[in-house]
């Protein structure tokens, strides 16, 4: 089941929280939703989860509009602050959510047991939710979102406030689930997006500013390949001028004169790595390092969202 967001706009007073955005999420895809605080991520997710009404534009879930169909059953939603009924025991809570979602009555007990196992809640299962640590509460939040085996998962910052081990566990969980489901999740943690998502969507001030895989985003933001090379056995000035004279090179900088390290920026869309290698072979220099230099996702994010 896919999600199609079409020209979605949401206005709070004079302010546009979401401004005419369109995107789609394909079945089996994990889409990372990025953006600074207040960019409109949560509002968009609330609309997909059908908590907020769609006023302008439309959202299609499996081809049906959320405006005239109740499609909540298809969606598993974990709200931003992970609200739970703290006074309830975990099992009772999950059973309650399962019956709210209309899960077949006779299968509820088994399903709850299964989710408790999948989410690693086995040790804690007889506790009240209020007695759990934050990480376990988050797992209960995920368990309740997935209890009715929805085809679509909307997770609003599922890993905030967790320790690094828990983050990796939750991330793996999402990754495993994402194979069969359509997942849209938002986060502030950029390496997480790269590790988990098939595709990245960055929004800023209610508008989409980037859409693509991590590597396409890098290429878009950068447009040209950058290499860090270390060339030994040659004279620095000689090396610099020879590289500069190459057809595929735009510029070259000396990074470390002592270690003969250089930064080579290729011309747009013409990778210079082969030519560099050829040059060194011709001149009998030795390349001891050739590192394609990647822009960090953080830099792309900052470029796109600060202006």
């Amino acid at each position: 089941m896919d999600i199609k967001v079409l020209n979605l706009t949401k206005q709070y007073g004079a302010q546009k929280a979401v401004d005419n955005i369109s995107f789609d999420v394909k079945p089996g895809e994990i889409l990372g939703f990025l953006g600074p605080n207040g960019a409109g991520k949560t509002t968009t997710m609330k609309m997909i989860a059908q908590y907020l009404d769609v006023e302008h534009g439309d959202i299609l879930i499996g081809g049906k509009s959320v405006k005239d169909n109740n499609l909540k059953r298809q969606i598993g939603y974990l709200p931003e602050s992970n609200p739970l009924y703290y006074e309830m025991p975990i099992m009772d809570y999950l059973e309650y959510v399962a019956s709210l979602q209309g899960y077949p009555k006779e299968k509820i007990k088994d399903r709850v047991r299964e989710m408790i196992k999948v989410c690693g809640l086995d040790v804690e299962k007889h506790k009240l939710i209020s007695e759990l640590s934050k990480g376990y509460k988050q797992r209960v939040g995920l368990a309740q979102a997935m209890i009715h085996d929805p085809e679509i998962l909307i997770l609003d910052e599922p890993t905030t406030g967790l320790d690094p081990n828990q983050i990796i566990e939750i991330r793996d969980l999402i990754k495993n689930l994402g194979r069969q489901k359509t997942v849209l999740f938002s986060t502030h943690i950029l390496p997480e997006v790269e590790a988990t998502c098939d595709r990245i969507l960055i929004i800023n001030k209610g508008k989409i500013v980037a859409d693509g895989t991590a590597s396409t985003l890098r290429q878009q933001s950068q447009g040209q390949d950058v290499y860090h090379v270390r060339i030994e056995d040659g004279n620095i000035d000689d090396i610099v001028t020879s590289i500069r004279n190459m057809a595929s090179v735009e510029s070259v900088n000396v990074l470390d004169a002592g270690k003969h390290k250089f930064e080579v920026v290729s011309k747009p869309n013409i990778p210079s790595n082969r030519h560099l290698f050829q040059l060194c072979v011709d001149r009998k220099w030795v390349i001891t390092e050739l590192i394609p230099f990647e822009t960090k996702l953080e830099d792309i994010f900052r470029d796109l969202t600060m202006n």
Partner: protein
């Protein structure tokens, strides 16, 4: 509708989880029992086989207790954000309001069930008017239904439980007392209007032993309006 029962069951259960139910039951039975059997104007003193004392005490106890039951039902969910979790499940806003209403009404029903021994004892002690007693119970349930709806409405417009409690009492006191006073202090159509609005007036007419359609419509309308407004304020988010 099916989902309403799921919600009602959970709400009913959570009254017991949070001890609210036990406190309510103990206080309700304590007060009504004390005044019915022990205190000055009890049945033995009056030497009349009826439950009049019980009904008037129950009326006031429920008047104060129902807002205490309903105050958190929506307000707290709004405050903690669980309302978002709840409303994104496969339920409608109406399911939620009706579920909460039914859960609360069920608790009041259970409280009233516990007073059946009063009825049985008095029937054993003397000749009780069965008709008036049964309609007295029906009246209490109808009254509870109206106050629960008012309480849910009050709870739906705020995320502060105390505000919800006080607001429910404030609205309640008009129906319980003030409209009756106002009807006495005015004349003509205004007096008739207040007379019609007074819940006490309708309750009294039912507890005399006659269940009139007019009274049923009255309690039904207050319940419906309260629940409708609660649903409306939940849907505004």
């Amino acid at each position: 509708m099916n989902k309403s029962f799921v919600i009602a069951k959970k709400e009913f259960g959570s009254f017991f989880d949070s001890l609210v139910a036990y406190i309510l039951l103990a206080a309700f039975l304590g007060f009504s029992g004390f005044f019915t059997w022990i205190q000055g104007s009890d049945v033995f003193m009056r030497r009349e086989a009826d439950l009049d004392v019980f009904f008037s005490v129950a009326r006031w106890t429920l008047f104060f207790f129902i807002p205490a039951l309903t105050m958190k039902m929506i307000a707290e969910e709004k405050k903690t954000g669980t309302i978002e979790m709840l409303l994104t499940k496969a339920v409608t806003d109406r399911d939620v309001v009706i579920g909460k209403y039914l859960g609360c009404l069920l608790l009041v029903g259970v409280a009233l069930l516990f007073t059946i021994p009063y009825y049985v004892s008095i029937a054993w002690l003397g000749k009780i008017d069965h008709g008036a007693t049964i309609t007295g119970y029906i009246g209490l349930l109808l009254m509870a239904s109206a106050y629960i709806a008012i309480g849910l409405f009050a709870s739906s417009i705020t995320n502060n439980q105390i505000v919800a409690f006080l607001l429910a009492l404030l609205i309640g006191i008009f129906f319980h007392l003030l409209f009756d006073f106002l009807a006495g202090g005015t004349s003509g159509w205004l007096s008739d209007l207040f007379q019609t609005l007074s819940l006490t007036n309708h309750y009294d007419s039912i507890s005399r032993g006659v269940v009139d359609t007019k009274d049923l419509i009255y309690f039904g309308s207050i319940t419906a309006i309260g629940l409708f407004l609660a649903e409306y304020f939940i849907s505004k988010r």
